[in-house]
C-alpha cells in the first residue's frame, strides 16, 4: 500500500495566480476583510522579501510599488481546489479530499501504468504545473506521513517504509497542525521539531498534554494509522471569476474568457475528457439606464434580466481553448449582453473525446472543429437562420423546409467502392456510370413576386411582374392545392406552369429591371384564393 500526497503551498495566492498567469513571477499579496478594512491575508515569497507582512493594512501594503495587491477570491480558490481534485483523479480513482490545498491518492498498483513511485510523483508535479499549480508531492506507505511530508518539504519526497520517523524528524512542529496552545507549550519546553517530540516519553507527554499530545507524538513518529476517506469525484467542470471592475467591451472580456477556457480545458484534459457544450453565464451590473426594457409604447417597462446566458453547442467534443474562445466570441458578437459584466461563470458539459480513424481513400471532408468555426463566422455574416443543411418537412405546403445543423457524414458513400484504391483512381470511369438524365431544377423567388395575370376563358394568357410584360405561350394547370385549414396560415392555391415570352418594348421597364428577353422561360405561377392575388413562385432553370 502506498500513498501520494499533493500539497499546494500558499494556496490562496496560487489560486489567484492560476487565474492571472502573468503574476507568476511577481510579488503578490492578497487582502481580505470587511470594507473599508482590508488586511493582507496571504503573500508569496517575493512579496514577503519585499517587506510585506501578514495582517498589514491594505493602505500600508500599497506603499510597496513592486508588490501586486489583489483581493482574496473564494471563487478562484474553489476552482483551484476542483482542479486539484481533477489532478488526483487523472492518476488514481481513489482520492481523499484532505483539505482545500491537500489531497491524498492511493497509488497502489499504478506501477504498470506510470512506473515506480518517483515516476508517479514526477507525473503529478508535471500535471499540476499543467493546471497552473506549483505542488509538493510526497509518497509514503503511511497516509499521514505522506501528508505531513508534502506540507513540510518542497518538491518530491519519497519516504521508504520504516524510515518515516527519521524522515519526518527535521520537520517543524507547525507542519503537524497542532492547536496554538499546545504549540506554545511545546515551544516553551524547547520542542520545535518532530524528532524532539518523538523522543519524549509517551506516558509523561500524555499526562501533561492529554490525548492531543499522544496524537501529535504518533504523528511525529510516523506511527499514526488511519484509512483513506475516498472522495466522490463528480464530473462537474465550472470556472468562475468575479470582477473588481465591470467589463463592457468585448476585447477585455475575450481576454478573461480565454483565461477561464484555458483552465477549463486543462481540467478536462486532466480527466481525459472534452466538452460537448460550453455554458456561459454573466452576472450583469445594475445600471440605472439599462434596468428597464421598453417593449412597446403602450406596454409597461419590464425589468431587464440581471443575468445573461448562452450555450455553445458543439458538433463534436473538443477541448481546444483557442477554438472555443473564437466560437464564444462569434456568439457574443452576434448577441452581446445588454449591460456590463461583473461575474463570469463558465461550465463545460463533459464528453468522451472524438476518436476518428482517417482513411486514405475517404472523400475530403472539413475538419469538424474548423468547420464549426467557419459556420460560426458565416452565421455571424448572414445570420443564424440563413446557414445550415436544408431539411424537408412533412407537409404539402409549397416550398416549406427548415434549416438543420450541418453535420456531414464521412465515408458513407452511397456508391459502393468495392475495389478501394482502384475505385478512387478510376473515379471518372465510375462517375460516368452514374450519369443519368438531369432533373429540371426549380429556383424560388423569395419572397414570392406579386403578378398581374390576364385570363382568357379562365386561362392565363398574359402576365405582368417585375416591371415586365410577357405573353404566355404555353401553360399547364390549374393544379389546385390547399391545406392547414385549421391554422391561421392556411393556403389554397391554383398553380400553373407557364412558358413566358417577355416583351422587350414594355414601357414600364426601368433601369433596375433585368433585360426582359433574357428572362424568357418556364415559370411557376399561382393564384392565391385566400389573398385573391396572383404570384410568381419561381422558374425552372
Amino acid at each position: 500500500m502506498a500513498f501520494a500526497s499533493i500539497h499546494v503551498p500558499n494556496f490562496l495566492v496560487q489560486a489567484v495566480v492560476r487565474a492571472e498567469p502573468n503574476l507568476r513571477d511577481r510579488a503578490v499579496a492578497l487582502v481580505d476583510g470587511t470594507p473599508p478594512i482590508w488586511n493582507v491575508v496571504a503573500a508569496n515569497e517575493a512579496a514577503l522579501r519585499s517587506g510585506i507582512e501578514l495582517g498589514m493594512a491594505e493602505s500600508q501594503a500599497a506603499q510597496f510599488s513592486a508588490v501586486e495587491i489583489r483581493r482574496r477570491s473564494r471563487l478562484q480558490e474553489k476552482s483551484a481546489h476542483a482542479a486539484l481534485l481533477d489532478l488526483g483523479a487523472s492518476v488514481s480513482p481513489r482520492v481523499e479530499d484532505t483539505a482545500s490545498d491537500t489531497i491524498i491518492l492511493d497509488i497502489a498498483g499504478l506501477a504498470s501504468l506510470f512506473g515506480n513511485e518517483e515516476n508517479i510523483a514526477t507525473q503529478l508535479m508535471r500535471r499540476a504545473a499543467g493546471l497552473g499549480l506549483v505542488a509538493h508531492v510526497a509518497v509514503s506507505s503511511n497516509l499521514e506521513v505522506a501528508v505531513h511530508a508534502a506540507r513540510g518539504f518542497a518538491g518530491i519526497t519519497l519516504i521508504p517504509p520504516g524510515e518515516e520517523a527519521s524522515c519526518l524528524g527535521p520537520l517543524p512542529l507547525r507542519a503537524l497542525l497542532p492547536c496554538a496552545e499546545i504549540l506554545e507549550t511545546l515551544d516553551r519546553w524547547g520542542v520545535r521539531d518532530c524528532a524532539t517530540l518523538a523522543a519524549l516519553p509517551l506516558l509523561q507527554l500524555s499526562e501533561r498534554l492529554g490525548q492531543e499530545g499522544v496524537r501529535l507524538h504518533e504523528l511525529a513518529r510516523g506511527a499514526s494509522l488511519r484509512s483513506i476517506v475516498l472522495a466522490e469525484l463528480g464530473v462537474h467542470f465550472e470556472e468562475e471569476m468575479a470582477l473588481e471592475f465591470a467589463v463592457a467591451e468585448l476585447e477585455p472580456l475575450a481576454f478573461l474568457l480565454g483565461r477561464l477556457l484555458d483552465q477549463l480545458c486543462a481540467r478536462l484534459e486532466a480527466r481525459a475528457l472534452a466538452a460537448c457544450a460550453i455554458r456561459l453565464r454573466f452576472d450583469l451590473e445594475d445600471s440605472f439606464e439599462k434596468d428597464f426594457q421598453i417593449l412597446s409604447e403602450n406596454s409597461p417597462p419590464k425589468l431587464a434580466p440581471r443575468t445573461y446566458e448562452k450555450v455553445l453547442g458543439l458538433p463534436v467534443p473538443m477541448r481546444n481553448s483557442k477554438m472555443l474562445l473564437k466560437l464564444l466570441r462569434l456568439q457574443l458578437q452576434a448577441d452581446p449582453p445588454h449591460a456590463s459584466i461583473v461575474k463570469i461563470i463558465l461550465s463545460a458539459e463533459p464528453a468522451r473525446p472524438r476518436a476518428a480513424q482517417g482513411g486514405l481513400f475517404l472523400p475530403s471532408s472539413p475538419d469538424p472543429e474548423k468547420l464549426e468555426l467557419t459556420i460560426g463566422r458565416l452565421a455571424n455574416l448572414v445570420g443564424n437562420s440563413n446557414i445550415g443543411s436544408p431539411e424537408l418537412v412533412d407537409t404539402h405546403r409549397p416550398g416549406d423546409f427548415r434549416m438543420g445543423r450541418f453535420l456531414p457524414a464521412v465515408g458513407e458513400s452511397k456508391i459502393s467502392q468495392k475495389n478501394g484504391a482502384a475505385a478512387s483512381i478510376h473515379i471518372r470511369k465510375e462517375d460516368t456510370s452514374t450519369s443519368r438524365r438531369a432533373a429540371t431544377a426549380f429556383r424560388m423567388f423569395r419572397p414570392e413576386v406579386q403578378a398581374k395575370v390576364e385570363l382568357q376563358d379562365g386561362y392565363p394568357v398574359r402576365i405582368y411582374f417585375r416591371g415586365m410584360r410577357g405573353n404566355i405561350v404555353a401553360a399547364s394547370g390549374p393544379w389546385r392545392t390547399s391545406g392547414d385549414w385549421w391554422r391561421e396560415d392556411l393556403w389554397q392555391q391554383d398553380e400553373w406552369e407557364v412558358d413566358i415570352r417577355f416583351d422587350s418594348s414594355a414601357s414600364s421597364r426601368s433601369e433596375r429591371t433585368p433585360n426582359p428577353r433574357a428572362q424568357d422561360g418556364l415559370y411557376r405561377i399561382y393564384y392565391d384564393s385566400i389573398r385573391a392575388a396572383w404570384f410568381a413562385r419561381g422558374r425552372y432553370d
Binding site: V382, K414, I415, H426, T432, A438, R443
Partner: protein, 268 residues
C-alpha cells in the same frame, strides 16, 4: 548582354528568395483530376468538372444552369463529399434538389442577400477548406452588379482552390471570371417539351390547357474555355481546348409533389 541578364536573374532570384521557389523554372501543369457532372453529354463535352480549379457556368434565366449544378451536387453528395452552396439570391429550392438526387445532409446552404455577403461567405468557406464541392450561385444577380466584382476576387478564389481537391463552380448570367476560370460553359435553353394526354393533339392550345403536361426542356451547352489536361482512363491525354464545341441534353420535369402523377420517371 548575357552577363547582364544573368546578373539580373540572380538579383530577382535573391529578392524572391524564401517567397518563390525557383521563379525562372517552368512548372509543369499537373494533370487535373476531373469528376463527373452527372450528365454524360456534359462530361463528354468538357471532360467533367476539374478539382482545384474554378468552373464558370453562365447563361440566361431558364437555361439549365441550376439543373447542371444540382446534377453535379447529386453526384458529389452520393460520394459522401461535403458540399456547400453559397446562394447569392436565396433561390435554392430544397425540394427540387432532393428530387434531383442531392443528399441534403451533405450540403451546407448559405443564404445570402447581397453580393458583398456572397463574396465574403465564399472567402470564408474557401479558407475553412475541406469541402469537396463549393458552388457560388449568382444566377439571379443583375449583370451590372456582377461586372463590378473586382477581378482580384476571382483570382483570390482561384488561388484558394488551387492544389486542393475542391471544385469551385460559379453560376452567373454572364461570364466575369475571365482567365481565372479553368472551364467555362455557356448554357442556352432549347424549347420546352410539353405532352398531352389527349389522343390527338388539340389544334387550339387554349381549348385544352389542363391536358398539357410539362415534360422538361432541352439545354445546349457550349464549351468556351478549358485549360484542363485530363488523363483519360485508357491512358492517353486529351486537351479540351477547342472552344465552340457544344452538346445538347434534355431535362426531365421535376417530379415534385404536384407532378408525381403526371410526369414519367427518369429512365434508369
Amino acid at each position: 548582354m548575357a552577363v547582364n541578364l544573368a546578373t539580373l536573374r540572380s538579383k530577382v532570384e535573391l529578392a524572391l528568395a524564401g517567397r518563390v521557389v525557383a521563379p525562372f523554372t517552368y512548372r509543369d501543369r499537373h494533370a487535373v483530376e476531373t469528376v463527373s457532372t452527372g450528365i454524360a453529354e456534359i462530361d463528354s463535352l468538357a471532360g467533367g468538372l476539374p478539382r482545384g480549379a474554378l468552373t464558370e457556368i453562365f447563361g440566361p434565366a431558364c437555361s439549365g444552369r441550376t439543373s447542371l449544378l444540382l446534377s453535379a451536387l447529386a453526384a458529389r453528395t452520393a460520394h459522401a463529399e461535403a458540399c456547400a452552396l453559397i446562394d447569392g439570391c436565396d433561390a435554392f429550392d430544397p425540394h427540387s434538389a432532393e428530387a434531383a438526387g442531392v443528399e441534403l445532409k451533405q450540403l451546407l446552404w448559405v443564404r445570402c442577400r447581397s453580393i458583398d455577403q456572397t463574396l465574403r461567405a465564399t472567402d470564408l468557406l474557401l479558407q475553412g477548406g475541406g469541402f469537396g464541392f463549393i458552388a457560388l450561385d449568382l444566377s439571379d444577380m443583375r449583370a451590372e452588379v456582377l461586372r463590378h466584382v473586382p477581378l482580384d476576387a476571382w483570382f483570390r478564389f482561384r488561388r484558394a482552390v488551387e492544389d486542393t481537391p475542391t471544385i469551385l463552380v460559379v453560376l452567373e448570367p454572364e461570364s466575369n471570371a475571365k482567365t481565372c476560370a479553368s472551364l467555362v460553359l455557356r448554357m442556352e435553353a432549347e424549347p420546352a417539351r410539353w405532352s398531352t394526354t389527349l389522343e390527338t393533339r388539340a389544334p387550339d392550345f387554349f381549348r385544352y390547357p389542363s391536358s398539357w403536361l410539362l415534360e422538361g426542356f432541352g439545354v445546349r451547352a457550349e464549351l468556351l474555355r478549358s485549360h484542363m489536361q485530363s488523363s483519360a482512363p485508357n491512358g492517353f491525354k486529351k486537351h479540351f481546348d477547342s472552344a465552340g464545341r457544344s452538346e445538347t441534353f434534355e431535362t426531365n420535369a421535376m417530379p415534385g409533389f404536384l407532378s408525381v402523377a403526371r410526369i414519367e420517371p427518369a429512365p434508369k
